[in-house]
Structure formats: C-alpha cells, structure tokens
C-alpha cells in the first residue's frame, strides 16, 4: 500500500513537472550525505526525494517543518509514511535541541534533505541560510554536504496555489562542500548559499 502510494507520487511528479536529477558536480553514491537546497515551493521536498535513485531514496529522510507537514491526516501520511520525513520545530522550544531529530537520523546512518532557508522564498532569490547546516557540518564532519538547486519549482507551484502547473522542473546536484578548518559560521553559510546559487546559473557550472 505504502509502496504503491510512493510509485503513484513519483509517477505523478514525473508526469506533471518532470523533476529529473542532473548530477553536474557529484554522482549518486551510498555515502552518507546532507543534501541542501533552495526552497520556493511545498513541492521541493517531494521533487528532491523523487529525483534520487530508488536505492538512495529509501535511505534518505527529508527534513520537514512540523507546523506544515505535521498538520492534517493527509499531509502527515505523505510526510511520514510516504516520504519518511524527519519533522522539526521551526520555532525554538526552550530547553530542547531543535536539531535532535536530525542528529538521531544521522546516527542511524540515514542521509538528509535540508532546506537551510527555513521557509519558502518567492523563487527569485535565495534567502540567507539558517545555522542548522553549520551546526550539523561541525558535529558530523564525516557526512558529505551536497548543494542542490531546484529549478522552476516556485513557478510550477508558487505560494498560495492549490494545484501545481505542469512546468518542467529539475534538481541539479553540485560538488560536495566541506567545512574548512576554523571556518566561521557566517562565512560557511554564505559559501554554502553561494554554492546553491551558482548551480542556478548553469552557464557557469
């Protein structure tokens, strides 16, 4: 039942918006990874998840906001049962580590899909990255950080839309990024954001 629902979701994604993977700077491998991407649409999570090869998809958990994906039975079903999401709180709760669910998933050996902007932009520019990516890079130096640019998604399913418009989208996977020795938080986050933005200007890659 779940497997069938997954197939339907992937088939529907391919039919409506394509969402194929373009591995421009890295290859799909079994290494443990954190994929981090720009965020312009609720479909981002589904498209990046669907773009991964089958074997990697089952070992990868998207990180999703509890206040959106945790609400309502359908959304919870899609987020938890189909996509296998890790839900996080966007508003910090005093006395708890917001990254704890992510650290737990990484400890199980799973890869993560992360949207470091924290919220959806309008698709025209990428907003500054939140610190979570830096913190995970710092505590998990063995995990590869792969920048991903999701193309056209804000056009296919903009804020406030009810149905996605059939516009071809693509996920471009870039070269792995490393936290440099003693690199400052802000410098690293700027560099990570720039890595995603560069993938969005394909003439330069």
């Amino acid at each position: 039942m779940i497997a069938a629902a997954r197939l339907v979701l992937i088939a529907l994604t391919r039919f409506l918006i394509g969402g194929h993977a373009r591995w421009v700077g890295s290859e799909p491998t079994f290494e443990q990874r954190i994929y981090f991407a720009n965020h312009g649409s609720h479909l981002d999570t589904i498209v990046l998840w669907a773009a991964l090869p089958d074997a990697l998809r089952s070992k990868t958990s998207p990180v999703a906001a509890r206040d959106y994906w945790g609400k309502g039975r359908l959304r919870r079903f899609v987020a938890l049962d189909i996509l296998g999401c890790v839900l996080v709180e966007r508003q910090a709760v005093a006395g708890s580590d917001p990254l704890a669910p992510l650290t737990a998933a990484l400890a199980e050996g799973r890869s993560l899909i992360l949207f470091p902007e924290g919220t959806r932009g309008d698709g025209s520019s990428i907003m500054p990255f939140k610190s979570g990516l830096y913190n995970l890079a710092n505590t998990h130096p063995g995990v590869q950080l792969i920048p991903v640019f999701l193309d056209n998604l804000a056009r296919a399913f903009p804020k406030g839309a009810y149905v996605p418009a059939p516009i071809s989208c693509a996920a471009r996977f870039g070269a792995p990024l490393r936290l440099r020795q003693g690199e400052e938080r802000q410098a690293f986050l700027t560099r990570a954001r720039e890595a995603v933005a560069t993938l969005g200007r394909p003439g330069e890659v």
Partner: protein, 313 residues
C-alpha cells in the same frame, strides 16, 4: 474498415525504417572520422525514436479513436509544458496557466470525442482567449501584462488548438468514405514528417541558398523545393487512402508541405526568442516533443479546414 490499406501502409513504413536502421548500421561500420561518427550516432538515435513513434501510432490505430484522442491530448500536454517551461511565467500567471492545462486541454479533446464541431472551433480562440487574461488580471500584476497573456494564448493556440485538428479528422463525415478517417490522419502525418526528412536530405545534398539563416540555418531553398515537391509527389501517390483524386491529393500534400514549412520556421523563431535551441529533451535525437510537432501545428488546421470545406457536404 479497409484493413488491407492500413496493412500496406504499415508494411511500407516498417520497410522504410528497416532501410534506415540498416543504413545507419552499415555507416557505423564504415566511418572512422569523429564528425561522421557523431552524425551516424544522431541518425541511429533518430531512427530508434522513429520506431517508437511508429509503434505508438500503430497501437493508437489498433485501439481505436478514443485512444488516438488521448494520445494527441498527451502530445498537446507535453508540447504546452515545453512551451510554458521556456516562457518566464510569474506567480501571478499561475491561475491562467493551470486553467489552460487542466480545463482547456481536456475540454478541447472532449469536444472532438463528442463531435461537437461548432464549439470545438471556437472554445480556445474565443473562450480561452477572453478568459485567460481575466484570470491573469485578477492577480493584479500589470507589469508586462500584454506579453504574459499573449505568450500563454499563443502556447494554447499552437499546442492545443492547432494540434487537436489532426485527430479531429477522425470525426469528419465524407459520404462514400465512412470509416476511412484514420487513413486521412495517416496521410497528414506521413506527408508532414516525410517532407521534414526529405527537406533535410535535399538540403544536405544540394543546399546552397538559405531561406532564413538567422532563424533556422539548416533550411535551404533547395531543400524546401526538392524535399517539398518529392513529399507532394508521394502525397499524390497516396490518393488511394484519401477521398481525393490523385491531382487533389497532390495539391493537399503541397498545402501540407508549405504550411508545415512555415510552422517549422515560426516555431523556430519563437524558440529562439525564448532563448533555447531545442524545446526539450524528451525524444532522444529529436529534442523535445514540440521539435517533432512544429510542422504539424500549422499543417493540421490547414489540412482539416481544406478537407472540411471542399469535401464535407
């Protein structure tokens, strides 16, 4: 249904494709140079894509008109998707874009299925033409308003309205030729595609004078005249699958060739004005679906109208 005719046609098409596959195979054994190898690889992938398209077309015929309609609806869908993907739409256009896809594609093909010809002829040119800008204006963004709505209207006209005239041939009633409609659709598609291939071949062999070097550098007068006339001759030779006399069939084929050539040229200019070389990557060796359908967008409505005007009482 005159089954023997479709069997002869299919045998002919399979024969041509076998010859193509064989030629590509022999060439791949003989050539050593890098450039020729690339040309042969392109030929191989084109022939392979043709096999797939012919199998799909044959399956559509075997499974009946409803499946053929669904097939063309999907073709319209993919062509419109390619066109809108290259068009820089904004969030404010979303409602109009979604309506074009989810309302007007099914509606247009349902109208053919229902044989409701009067509405089929005006649903998009009148109702979609007027409704889409209303949906866009409600989003309140006036910046580039005319360009944004015009691009969507053009996309819907070319990829849905124009292409839908090909399967619309299936519902024309010509006394004395009942049940032969699929053969006319075959006639249209065969002449268009043959004309494209022959123009390419004649252009490669004899091409000197370019028709529109800035728009489509591969199109030459020699290719157009040599390929176009050959395709018209083949069309005249196919009169036995149409309601036309040999001369009329040649004239119809000529109209298809000229319209198809114009379609290829105009679509090429649109593609370039949107800053792309191919419409997409769907068909290996051919670019996108719209790269294969560009001539059909112009040829289908012209052929439909001429047939309907002169041969339907």
């Amino acid at each position: 249904m005159d089954d023997w005719r479709i069997i002869i046609l299919l045998a002919g098409v399979v024969g041509i494709l076998l010859a193509g596959s064989l030629a590509a195979f022999v060439l791949s054994r003989r050539t050593n140079s890098e450039a020729m190898q690339a040309t042969v690889r392109n030929l191989q992938s084109r022939v392979k894509a043709w096999w797939v398209m012919v199998v799909i077309f044959a399956a559509a015929f075997l499974l009946g008109p409803t499946v053929t309609l669904i097939l063309f609806a999907l073709t319209s869908f993919y062509c419109l998707r390619e066109m809108i993907t290259l068009t820089p739409t904004r969030p404010a256009d979303h409602r109009a874009v979604a309506t074009a896809f989810y309302v007007f594609i099914p509606l247009q093909y349902w109208l053919i299925f229902d044989e409701w010809q009067t509405v089929f002829a005006i649903a998009i040119p009148v109702y979609a033409f007027l409704l889409l800008p209303v949906l866009t204006v409600l989003a309140g963004e006036t910046d580039h308003f005319l360009e944004r709505t015009a691009k969507l209207q053009w996309g819907l006209m070319l990829t849905v309205y124009c292409i839908s005239h090909a399967p619309a041939l299936l519902v024309l009633d010509i006394p004395g030729h009942e049940g032969e409609n699929f053969l006319w659709l075959f006639f249209l598609i065969a002449v268009v595609q043959l004309s494209d291939v022959l123009q390419y071949v004649f252009g490669k062999l004899f091409g000197r004078h370019k028709v529109a070097p800035r728009v489509s550098p591969a199109k030459t007068w020699e290719g157009l005249i040599g390929g176009g006339l050959s395709a018209a001759l083949v069309g005249a030779g196919l009169f036995w699958i149409t309601p036309f006399s040999p001369l009329q069939a040649g004239g119809m084929a000529l109209a298809i060739v000229v319209a198809g050539f114009c379609g290829g040229l105009v679509l090429s200019a649109i593609k370039r004005s949107l800053g792309a070389k191919d419409w997409g990557t769907m068909i290996e060796g051919h670019g996108g679906a719209l790269d294969r359908m560009d001539s059909v967008t112009f040829a289908a409505p012209i052929f439909f109208h001429l047939t309907n005007y002169f041969f339907v009482p």
